[in-house]
Symmetry: C2
Subunit: 201 residues, 2 copies
């Protein structure tokens, strides 16, 4: 893909964020990661605040592309695929430095309206995908009819975010949690309670 200057500046923001963290991120450090001057970055974006707004917008697009790539013929397969994207090391889109920087950004949300608004969007996108796939499963009689899609989605949204926080804070792999959640869904979400979410089984 041929990156224009704006996209190239956002890529440099990614690299600078991984290297310096959010608190120490300045336009100077972003310019150092880019072919563009600090003045040009100022020309395109209104300081660190405006740049970070655009950066979170790009991350959101990439995030929704990634979770929307989780497909499957049945609701069970789609749920499994979505959890794999979210939780397995294989599905991880980014390295440790970036995940760490993102947790730091999250902690800024109470002080920063722009960041908070973006995080609410990320959270809603995840919740909405999880709720849809569970509701699909209930509607198609694949899942237990007494399952409440919104409640399952709320719970899984928290679990996924907690798993990501633990992965940063205590360097814990989330692969085993993925297995546990799939196993749990197979036992308690599927209508017959004896099926499998595994693709191709």
């Amino acid at each position: 893909m041929d990156d224009g200057p704006e996209r190239e500046i956002l890529r440099a923001t990614y690299r600078a964020l991984c290297k310096h963290g959010y608190a120490d991120l300045t336009l100077k450090e972003i310019a150092a990661e880019s072919d563009r001057s600090k003045a040009l970055i100022h020309y395109y974006y209104d300081g660190k605040h405006g740049l970070f707004d655009a950066f979170l917008e790009l991350l959101y697009e990439e995030y929704t592309d990634r979770i929307d790539a989780a497909t499957g013929d049945t609701a069970g397969e789609r749920l499994r695929s979505l959890l794999a994207v979210l939780l397995t090391d294989e599905g991880a889109s980014s390295g440790r430095e970036f995940r760490t920087a993102l947790l730091e950004v999250k902690a800024q949300a109470p002080y920063n309206d722009t960041i908070r608004e973006h995080l609410v969007e990320f959270d809603a996108a995840l919740f909405e995908r999880l709720e849809t796939v569970v509701a699909d499963g209930v509607e198609s009689d694949e899942f237990d009819p007494s399952v409440d899609p919104a409640r399952v989605a709320e719970c899984l949204t928290a679990t996924v975010q907690g798993a990501h926080a633990r992965r940063v804070a205590i360097d814990d792999s989330t692969d085993e949690l993925y297995e546990t959640l799939v196993d749990h869904a197979e036992r308690h979400l599927l209508a017959d309670g004896t099926g499998s979410l595994e693709v191709g089984r």
Copy 2:
């Protein structure tokens, strides 16, 4: 309780952390929240690093006291009581400022061995309580014998931490999640699947 100077300095650290966040926390700001001088804080603690080490040790003691106060006659009651301490607004031990500062501290873990070691202790304390109460329930035939205590505990540990991160990042109450988890445990953890974890029912 009659606080000695060390305990009083740690209380001042709490207030300064709520006010300034972790990144901007200095001994000067802690001294400003205390009756003690910056020099005296230096006398008792080896700079910000040593002070924060002692502070996290105190938080850990308070945290384990709080979760160990979750009691009940049955494993189901103890689990419900533990989830109430962890997730309900009523059970919350601290305000928004402090929870925000703690999330910021978590994001420092990859760069700071002392913080990471403390966070691993907090995580292990929570996991261990959850695993014990679920194992108790399985042993006493109160819970489904096919339940794996370690896997349930792993999952709930992530869910609780994710709920705390969401409470900070998107200002979401965790009261409803508490209800969902109790309902879920009643349906899928109890041996007969029709019971209640509610105390006194």
